[in-house]
C-alpha cells in the first residue's frame, strides 16, 4: 500500500462568501452574529490603535492581526467562559474574547510584566512568544481537567509556521493517543515572517496533517466567521464529550507586517494583499447583517465609538501602571523568595 498526500481534495469549508452571501446554513442567530461583528470591530480598533501607538514609541514591537479577526473571534466564541485558551503573540482578539483584560494585553506590549497577571477566573495563559512550544500545554491543561472530573476543554492557537516545530507533532500525537479534549486551531495566514506556507510544508493544506495522528482535520475559510464558528463548535463538542482532539485550519491572511519591525515588501507583493482585501472578514458579515436589517451606519458609528473608548480606557490603565519594583522581579520567581534571591534583591536595591 502506498499512501500519498493527494488523497482528498483540499476543499475549504465556507458558509458566508466574501460578498456576504450564505452558501450553507448559518450556525448562529442574528444576536450572536451581531455580537461577533461588534467584537471584530473592537478587535480591529485595538489592532490599528496598537500599530499607531507603536509608531509613537508607546508600545514595544507589535504583531498585528488585521485580516485574522474572524479566525479568532469565530473560534473563541465557541468556548465556554472557563475553558482554557493558549494562544500566541498574534491572538489578542481571541484572548480578549475569552476575558483577558485589554489593559493587560496593552501592559504586556508596553513591556510591563503585569500584563501576564490574568485575573483569577480567566483561564487564558499569557501569550506564547516562542513558536510551537505552547501547544503541548493545551494538551496538559485539558488532560488535567479530565482527571479532575471537569468538563473544561482547552483550545490552542498557532500559525502555519508553528506546524513545523517538533512540539506541534508531540502535542498532536499525545492528544490523539490519550483522546484529550484539546482543540488545535491553526491560523494559516500564508506566512511565517518571510516564509510562505508553500515552503513551510509540502502538503497542500495544514488540515491534512491531522491524518498523521488519527485525528479529524478540518479546513475552513478563516475569514468566514460562520465557518470558523461552526467548525470550532463541533470540535469543542467532541473535546467536551471525550471524543478527543481536532485540528482546525483556518485559512486567512496577515494583512500587515509580521511585526512592526518587519518589512513585508522584502518578501511579498502588494498584489497578493489586494486580493485579500476583497475577502475581508468584517465586511462580509456587515453585508450579511445589513441585508437582514441588523446593521446600519448609526450602529456602526456607535460600536466604533464604544470600541475607541474601550481601547482608550485600556491604554490609559496600562500606561498608568507604575513601573515594576525590584521586589516584584525577584519576588515572582518562586512562591517564596529564596535566600539567594533575597540577597540579590538587596544588592540590586543598593546598586547605584
Amino acid at each position: 500500500m502506498r499512501f500519498t498526500g493527494a488523497l482528498t481534495s483540499p476543499r475549504m469549508r465556507q458558509i458566508l462568501t466574501p460578498s456576504g452571501a450564505l452558501v450553507d446554513e448559518a450556525p448562529m442567530d442574528d444576536a450572536l452574529a451581531s455580537r461577533l461583528y461588534r467584537a471584530m470591530v473592537f478587535a480591529r480598533t485595538y489592532d490599528r490603535k496598537s500599530m499607531a501607538l507603536q509608531k509613537q514609541g508607546r508600545l514595544a514591537t507589535y504583531a498585528p492581526f488585521e485580516g485574522q479577526e474572524a479566525a479568532q473571534a469565530g473560534s473563541a466564541a465557541a468556548l465556554e467562559v472557563d475553558d482554557w485558551m493558549v494562544g500566541t503573540y498574534r491572538d489578542a482578539a481571541a484572548m480578549w474574547m475569552q476575558a483577558y483584560p485589554m489593559e493587560l494585553l496593552f501592559a504586556g506590549r508596553t513591556g510591563h510584566e503585569h500584563g501576564g497577571r490574568v485575573p483569577e477566573h480567566v483561564n487564558v495563559l499569557p501569550p506564547s512568544i516562542t513558536v510551537g512550544g505552547h501547544m503541548v500545554h493545551a494538551v496538559g491543561l485539558a488532560w488535567a481537567e479530565r482527571l479532575q472530573g471537569s468538563s473544561r476543554i482547552a483550545l490552542t492557537y498557532f500559525g502555519d509556521g508553528a506546524t513545523s516545530e517538533g512540539d506541534f507533532h508531540e502535542a498532536m500525537n499525545m492528544a490523539a493517543v490519550q483522546k484529550v479534549g484539546t482543540v488545535f486551531v491553526c491560523q494559516n495566514n500564508g506566512w511565517a515572517i518571510s516564509l510562505p506556507t508553500a515552503e513551510q510544508t509540502a502538503t497542500e493544506t495544514i488540515a491534512e496533517k491531522a491524518i498523521a495522528y488519527g485525528m479529524p482535520g478540518v479546513r475552513v475559510d478563516g475569514n468566514d466567521v460562520f465557518a470558523v464558528y461552526a467548525a470550532t463548535r463541533e470540535a469543542v463538542g467532541r473535546a467536551r464529550s471525550g471524543e478527543g482532539p481536532t485540528l482546525i485550519e483556518a485559512v486567512t491572511y496577515r494583512m500587515g507586517p509580521h511585526t512592526t519591525a518587519d518589512d513585508p515588501g522584502r518578501y511579498r507583493s502588494e498584489a497578493d494583499r489586494e486580493e485579500w482585501v476583497r475577502r475581508d472578514p468584517i465586511e462580509r458579515l456587515r453585508v450579511y447583517l445589513s441585508e437582514r436589517g441588523r446593521w446600519d451606519e448609526d450602529w456602526q458609528m456607535r460600536i466604533e465609538e464604544q470600541a475607541s473608548s474601550e481601547v482608550e480606557r485600556a491604554i490609559v490603565l496600562a500606561e498608568s501602571l507604575r513601573a515594576p519594583e525590584p521586589e516584584e522581579m525577584f519576588g515572582a520567581m518562586f512562591a517564596e523568595i529564596p535566600p539567594h534571591l533575597a540577597e540579590q534583591l538587596a544588592e540590586a536595591k543598593a546598586a547605584p
Partner: protein, 326 residues
C-alpha cells in the same frame, strides 16, 4: 527496614500518590514495566493507569504536558529516562516550566517534579552517564536537589512533590542500590535548601552532592586515618544553595575541595568556588580546588575509570590542599 535509594524513591512516590489525588506519575516506561530502573515499580498496579502513565517517546511533550497539568492544578511527577534524554525537553523546562510564575506574576505556577537519573559508573552506552546539572542550576526558576542516601531521597522527593514550584530531582544512578539505610515507618520530609554536615572536621571542607558522595565518604575515612580532620558536606540541594553551610565550614577549616563528576568548565562547582572566593577569601589558607570530570564526552565502559573522580584523586587533592597552605 533497610532500604536502598531506589526503594526510598519508590516509596516516596507511592506515598505521595496515596496522599494526594493531584499527583500523577508520567514518563516513558514508568507504568507497566516500572521504569528502566524500577523506581516506579508497582505504582501502576496500585494507583491505576490514569495516574501512572506510560507516554509515547517524546520528552518535550512529556515536559510540556506535565507543565499544562501543573498549571491546571495537578502535581505531575515526570521522568526523563536518563539525563542525556532530557535535552529535548530543555526548551519546555527553561522557557515555560521555570518561567510561568514570573510570566504571570504568580497567577499561574508549575508545581511539578522532573525526575532525572544522572551520572556515570554503570558502564552504560553514550548519553546514559551525563551530569549536566549546571544547566538546570543556571536556569532561574527551578529548584534542584540531588540526594545521596535513602532518607534524603525519600524526604527530598516528598518535599519536591509538595513544593509550589518546579523541582528537578537528580537521582544518582550508581547509588540507586549501592547506599542503604534504615528508613523509619513514616520517614520524614527533608527541607529543600539545607545541606547536611555529614562529618565535622577542622582542616578541610570536602563538599559534594549526589553520586560522588560515596567516594567522598571513603576519602574522609582515609584522610582521617592520615590525621587530616575533614568536614564533609553533602549539599543535597543545589538550588537554592545552602551558602551558609558552605561558608561557615570554609571559614572554619580555611580549605575547600569541591567534588563533582560533571565536566569541569562552568560546572556547578565553579559556582561554589566563586561563592567562596567572593565571601570567604580572606579565610582561605589554600586555593579552592575542584575535583571533577573532564571537559570531554563521558566515555564508554572501558574508559570510565579515566573519567570519574576516584577516591584516590579526591584524597590526593585534599592532601595537596592541606600541604600547599600558607
Amino acid at each position: 527496614m533497610t532500604t536502598t535509594i531506589a526503594q526510598a524513591l519508590n516509596r516516596a512516590l507511592d506515598d505521595a500518590l496515596a496522599a494526594d489525588d493531584r499527583v500523577i506519575v508520567m514518563g516513558e516506561d514508568v507504568g507497566r514495566t516500572g521504569g528502566v530502573f524500577r523506581i516506579t515499580d508497582g505504582l501502576r498496579d496500585r494507583h491505576g493507569g490514569d495516574r501512572v502513565v506510560d507516554t509515547p517517546v517524546a520528552e518535550s511533550g512529556i515536559a510540556g504536558v506535565g507543565f499544562g497539568m501543573a498549571v491546571a492544578g495537578m502535581r505531575p511527577v515526570i521522568e526523563m529516562q536518563f539525563m542525556g534524554f532530557s535535552y529535548p525537553a530543555f526548551d519546555q523546562i527553561i522557557n515555560h516550566v521555570a518561567r510561568i510564575r514570573n510570566r504571570s506574576r504568580h497567577r499561574f505556577s508549575a508545581p511539578m517534579v522532573i525526575r532525572i537519573p544522572y551520572g556515570g559508573g554503570i558502564g552504560a552506552a553514550e548519553h546514559h552517564s551525563e551530569s549536566a546539572e549546571a544547566i538546570y542550576v543556571h536556569t532561574p526558576g527551578l529548584k534542584v536537589v540531588a540526594p545521596s542516601r535513602p532518607s534524603d531521597a525519600y524526604g527530598l522527593m516528598r518535599s519536591a512533590i509538595d513544593d509550589p514550584d518546579p523541582v528537578v530531582v537528580l537521582e544518582p544512578i550508581r547509588l540507586y542500590r549501592a547506599v542503604k539505610e534504615e528508613l523509619a515507618d513514616e520517614p520524614e520530609f527533608v527541607n529543600i535548601g539545607i545541606a547536611s554536615v555529614e562529618n565535622e572536621g577542622r582542616d578541610l571542607s570536602l563538599i559534594s552532592y549526589g553520586a560522588m558522595m560515596k567516594e567522598c565518604r571513603e576519602a574522609v575515612k582515609r584522610l582521617t586515618d592520615d590525621g587530616i580532620s575533614t568536614e564533609l558536606i553533602d549539599l543535597r540541594t543545589l538550588t537554592p544553595l545552602d551558602t551558609e553551610a558552605v561558608l561557615s565550614s570554609v571559614r572554619k577549616t580555611s580549605r575547600a575541595v569541591l567534588v563533582s563528576e560533571a565536566p569541569r568548565t562552568a560546572g556547578f562547582m565553579s559556582e561554589v568556588s566563586a561563592l567562596i572566593s567572593e565571601r570567604a577569601i580572606f579565610s582561605l589558607s589554600a586555593p579552592v580546588r575542584r575535583v571533577t570530570g573532564w571537559d570531554t564526552v563521558f566515555p564508554l565502559k572501558r574508559s570510565e575509570h579515566l573519567y570519574l573522580p576516584s577516591t584516590d584523586r579526591i584524597v590526593a587533592a585534599a592532601r595537596s590542599t592541606v600541604e600547599e597552605s600558607v
